[in-house]
């Protein structure tokens, strides 16, 4: 008791946070068919991961002392699958209160206990791009996460050092939410363009003010700082290339529109998401250097996405556009390997081309291709092991490894993996909706106005 008395709350103590680092492991995967994606396929080969990093790939590697060996005889070893568009692992998707919300960041709302993360692991997916939704023309900043499931610490999900990205959205979603819903711009596609141009122009003015202040400050100690705005600061960071745009888009005309806006403002980094009419403007996308992240065969779920084709990914690839296949769904994220395989039926892509759609290409789109997305020495030890070839309909993911740590093992798959449950409100069943999660959190707004 006396000890407790001596433990006085020190309110004024300076608080420094030290989040613990997620664990890294060492593993030797023996004698598998290694699908490196970038360096061909190696039969009867081993992959050695030491402290989370791929140390060596080759034949007859012996395990260092104390390193666990996984026998992959007869199995396929591929890089962990990457999803460039999803909304799992976060508990806020849309801040639908303004057509421009560049200041918000879904990385603030990571939810490591989202069971969808484990389900994604069970499909060999090790990394995903947790995105803001598409309610706003310029939505919030996104977060690239690794699926290190089992923790209650949101920081365990972060892929530290991954470049900053931000969600844009064209077309009907922002038109519906803000135009129809609130009676403000944008009500049309013209309005969407106007919102972006105005936001960028304001960001330029904001940056100019701060540049002037920072210069003035040197010689004038009484200089007053301009008003601080995270929204404009983030937009200025887009203009200076520090933040990459990932833009929800469907129609060819709006895709061309945004490329023109980007040219006018000197923005070079952009990845179009969904891009269902991308096949119509594939050469233009390639010429700009824009990336495309598409569905394998999902369209016609609303008017603006009435027209598409399952050949989209193959056409974009053949035109030299760095293309990926994404899920935008906690369901599709569990079998992206099937989604990738569809491009072999519709478009005849090679194995490596098809696998690239869910590995090295999304890695490029997230700016992490030097760290993940292929099995190469020096890269991070994110691996998916399959029974049967991952592009076969018989493929079964058996192990999923991140940083050399096994997070999914089909032989040790508990019936209830949830980290925690709410003791007051037991879940009974999960209601499944056909809508994509891009519009999560804004439906109530829309219904209220009907």
């Amino acid at each position: 008791m006396k000890q407790l008395f001596s433990l006085i709350f020190i309110l004024s103590a300076s608080i420094t946070l030290s989040w613990s680092q997620p664990s890294k492991g060492s593993l030797l995967i023996k004698n598998g068919t290694v699908l490196t994606v970038t360096k061909g396929t190696l039969t009867n080969s081993d992959v050695l991961i030491v402290d989370g990093i791929i140390k060596k790939i080759g034949k007859n590697i012996s395990a260092p002392k104390g390193v666990e060996v996984i026998d992959a005889t007869g199995l396929y070893v591929m890089p962990g699958i990457i999803d460039a568009h999803s909304h799992i692992g976060i508990d806020v998707v849309n801040e639908a209160t303004n057509p421009v919300t560049a200041d918000v960041w879904v990385g603030d709302a990571l939810d490591p206990m989202d069971v969808s993360i484990y389900r994604a692991l069970a499909g060999g997916t090790t990394t995903s791009h947790a995105m803001h939704g598409s309610a706003n023309v310029i939505g919030g900043q996104c977060e690239t996460i690794k699926h290190r499931f089992g923790s209650t610490n949101p920081n365990d999900l972060r892929m530290d050092g991954a470049p900053r990205t931000i969600k844009f959205a064209l077309g009907e979603n922002p038109m519906r939410v803000h135009g129809e819903g609130n009676g403000i711009i944008p009500r049309t596609r013209m309005g969407v363009e106007e919102v972006i141009r105005r936001a960028f122009s304001e960001a330029q003015a904001y940056q100019a003010k701060w540049d002037a202040y920072n210069k003035d400050k040197m010689k004038n100690p009484r200089a007053l700082a301009p008003e601080y705005s995270r929204r404009l600061e983030t937009l200025a960071d887009i203009l200076s290339g520090k933040v990459m745009i990932h833009c929800h888009s469907y129609r060819a005309d709006e895709i061309l529109m945004l490329m023109n806006v980007c040219k006018d403002f000197g923005v070079k980094k952009i990845c179009f998401q969904h891009v269902n009419e991308g096949f119509k403007v594939a050469p233009e996308l390639a010429n700009f250097g824009a990336y495309a992240s598409v569905f394998a065969d999902w369209w016609a779920y609303k008017f603006e996405v009435y027209y598409s084709t399952a050949y989209n990914a193959a056409i974009l690839t053949r035109n030299g556009v760095v293309t990926s296949i994404n899920s935008d769904s906690p369901d599709l994220i569990r079998h992206l390997y099937h989604e990738a395989a569809k491009t072999q039926h519709y478009g005849g892509l090679s194995d490596d081309e098809a696998l690239a759609l869910i590995t090295i290409n999304p890695a490029k789109q997230l700016g992490v291709e030097d760290r993940i997305g292929s099995l190469e020495e020096g890269k991070e030890g994110d691996v998916a092991i399959f029974r049967n070839h991952p592009l076969s309909v018989y493929a079964v993911p058996v192990r999923t490894i991140i940083d050399g740590v096994v997070y999914f093992d089909i032989d040790k798959d508990p019936s209830d993996i949830r980290v925690s449950i709410d003791p007051d409100n037991l879940p009974t069943f999960q209601q499944y909706t056909e809508e994509d999660r891009c519009m999560d959190g804004v439906f109530e707004y829309l219904f209220e106005n009907r």
């Binding site: 008791m1 006396k2 000890q3 407790l4 008395f5 433990l7 006085i8 709350f9 020190i10 309110l11 103590a13 300076s14 608080i15 420094t16 946070l17 508990d91 806020v92 849309n94 801040e95 639908a96 209160t97 919300t101 200041d103 918000v104 960041w105 879904v106 603030d108 709302a109 990571l110 939810d111 206990m113 209650t152 610490n153 949101p154 920081n155 819903g181 609130n182 009676g183 403000i184 009484r222 007053l224 008003e227 601080y228 705005s229 995270r230 019936s415 209830d416 949830r418 925690s420 449950i421 003791p423 007051d424 409100n425 037991l426 009974t428 069943f429 209601q431 959190g441 209220e448 106005n449």
Partner: protein, 584 residues
């Protein structure tokens, strides 16, 4: 000599009775509580001791205290005296704000959206609001807290992202201002978006707004300071009440009380704190056991919730019966209709889920003990807990390993330190404020009742009353509830309306409820209890496949009722009602 004392005692008693029946002031405010077990601070016990309070201040305490001649004597033989409890996070006495008309129910769609410029007020950023402006001294929950032994509440205002400044409030007085012991005890904030689709709508925007607002307030403070020193050549600072209210927070004179009822909100609050550097208190904490490392290494002050999830004993009973072949029938009549259902063994998945749920409930019961073992001090806060469950919840925590000494410290010395009121509150010492409670035995014994509470030296006396059991025969109280009532539940953006009918079923009271939107269909109410003017009951509600338990706590006042309903994690909503017919 003895007779003389008794004589005075009787006289005093008469005066006290008069004072309570009429609205007379007591003769004086000098009291001597004698022959008591006194716990001046946690871990210390004086036997056969006396405490004298005069004009709101403790005058003397100990075994050798001479009783002043003008003192009203309270013979507390075999009773226990403690320092009055301090609730570090309370919402008692706060008038819930009426939602804007346009934001309600059917009216909403017709209202055109408000596209006028966004203000801090519309964003729910109102640090300039003080508790006194929202406090209703006559609110019944203030009295209910006092009856439990609480004498000081740190009350937070009602609102959105930053509702305003909390204040330490003494539970005595008829004017809000005279009850305030310490204004601006903390800046209260929560992850709660603005109303009417205004920014910030979600957690991520609340976090962003915090950073924007705070940094601009820092700049404004810097500007004002420079201007005060020498205005020459500078633009004049603009006036903004919300911004200026942040200055004491920026100067670290006032801590930020962050409501963080789950582990994710604790991480998020600490992320914002890390960016901005203010002094933080994590409040309404329910999952602190998941955060001990960070709490410890950063010495974060904590306010633990006095709310606990529902106990899982009923399930246990069912299981026990099942194990015995499911043949034994409980004595309890009410169990019978459920028996058939309970005889069915749970499928393995449900059983596993229930086991997991039970473990989760136990973790929360153990939270206080776990933190104590980790060497982390904490205070308790009542926000979100039902008054009627606070003592039972404390006992559940004690049963789960919390020492009574630590429980007491978390209700007295720790919150006093947290609120920087430890020089005047928290222990029974000469010269401190005369806040104390007198109970019939050790406070945490289940049968113990609070008999007297002194707040600022003013006495409140409580009669001994047998506790009515659920559905018990407190006949006159039950009678006051009978009939048909119309009710309204104030849920944001809509108003839920319907009828409740209470009638007698033998010696028990039963009730049923209907909802205007679902026609004549009625649902039964469970565990209807009327005690005095307080009626409680609960009901099961199916919400899109999720079964929820709604818990009502209502005050009866003639033909009117008001109170609240707890809807699981969705929160607590205000209930109002009127009796439209009485039984024949």
């Amino acid at each position: 000599m003895k007779k003389w004392i008794i004589g005075i005692y009787c006289l005093v008693l008469n005066l006290v009775v008069q004072a309570q029946t009429g609205d007379l002031q007591p003769l004086n405010r000098v009291y001597a509580v004698t022959h008591a077990f006194i716990v001046p601070k946690p871990g210390m016990l004086l036997t056969d001791a006396t405490i004298v309070v005069r004009d709101g201040v403790i005058e003397a305490i100990g075994n050798q205290v001479s009783i002043p001649v003008d003192a009203q004597i309270i013979d507390a033989d075999s009773m226990y005296v403690y320092a009055g409890f301090i609730d570090a996070l309370s919402e008692a006495g706060i008038k819930k704000q009426e939602e804007e008309q346009g934001a309600r129910g059917r009216g909403r769609a017709a209202t055109p959206p408000d596209n006028s410029p966004l203000t801090n007020t519309k964003s729910g950023v109102t640090p300039e609001i003080e508790v006194a402006s929202q406090l209703d001294p006559s609110a019944s929950d203030l009295g209910a807290m006092r009856k439990l032994g609480f004498t000081t509440l740190n009350i937070v205002p009602e609102g959105r992202m930053i509702p305003g400044m909390s204040a330490a409030v003494e539970l005595h007085g008829s004017q809000a201002n005279e009850m305030i012991l310490k204004a601006n005890s903390g800046l209260y904030t929560q992850f709660r978006g603005a109303e009417n689709r205004k920014y910030p709508g979600t957690t991520i925007a609340v976090m962003s707004k915090w950073r924007d607002f705070y940094k601009n307030a820092e700049a404004a403070m810097h500007h004002e300071t420079m201007y005060a020193e020498d205005p020459t050549g500078l633009p004049r600072p603009s006036y903004d009440a919300a911004t200026q209210a942040m200055y004491p927070v920026i100067k670290k004179e006032v801590p930020v009380i962050f409501e963080t009822p789950d582990i994710l909100s604790m991480y998020r609050a600490m992320d914002v704190q890390k960016d901005l550097g203010f002094n933080i208190v994590l409040a309404n904490v329910k999952e602190g056991y998941l955060f001990t490392d960070v709490i410890k290494s950063n010495q974060v002050p904590l306010i633990l919730s006095l709310d606990l999830p529902k106990k899982m004993e009923e399930e246990k009973k069912g299981d026990a019966k099942k194990e015995r072949g499911g043949m034994e029938k409980g004595d309890d009549k009410k169990e019978k209709p459920k028996m058939e259902k309970k005889d069915q063994p749970d499928d393995p998945e449900t059983a596993q889920l229930k086991a997991k749920q039970k473990a989760e409930v136990e973790k929360r019961e153990k939270q206080a003990a776990t933190l104590t073992q980790a060497g982390i001090p904490f205070s308790f806060g009542s926000k979100g807990a039902r008054n009627s469950e606070i003592k039972a919840n404390l006992n559940r925590m004690i049963k789960a390993g919390l020492t009574e000494e630590q429980a007491l410290a978390s209700l007295t010395t720790e919150p006093a330190k947290l609120l920087k009121l430890d020089r005047q509150l928290g222990t029974l010492e000469k010269g401190k404020i005369a806040n104390l409670l007198v109970s019939t035995g050790p406070y945490f014994d289940e049968k113990t009742e609070v008999r007297y509470v002194f707040v600022d030296g003013s006495k409140y006396e409580y009669e001994s009353k047998p506790k009515p059991k659920p559905g018990s025969n407190d006949a006159s109280a039950q009678k006051s509830a009978l009939g048909t009532w119309e009710y309204t539940i104030d849920v944001p953006n809509q108003s839920v309306e319907g009828k409740m009918i209470f009638s007698m079923d033998g010696r028990e009271i039963k009730g049923e409820i209907s909802n205007a939107s679902s026609g004549d269909e009625t649902k039964p109410l469970n565990n209807v209890t009327v005690s005095g003017t307080v009626m409680t009951f609960d009901m099961d509600y199916d919400m899109g496949g999720n079964s929820m338990n709604l818990q009502y706590e209502l005050n009866l006042d003639g033909d009117n009722l008001d109170g609240q309903v707890m809807v699981g994690s969705f929160g607590t909503f205000k209930v109002k009602g009127k009796r439209i017919s009485k039984p024949n």
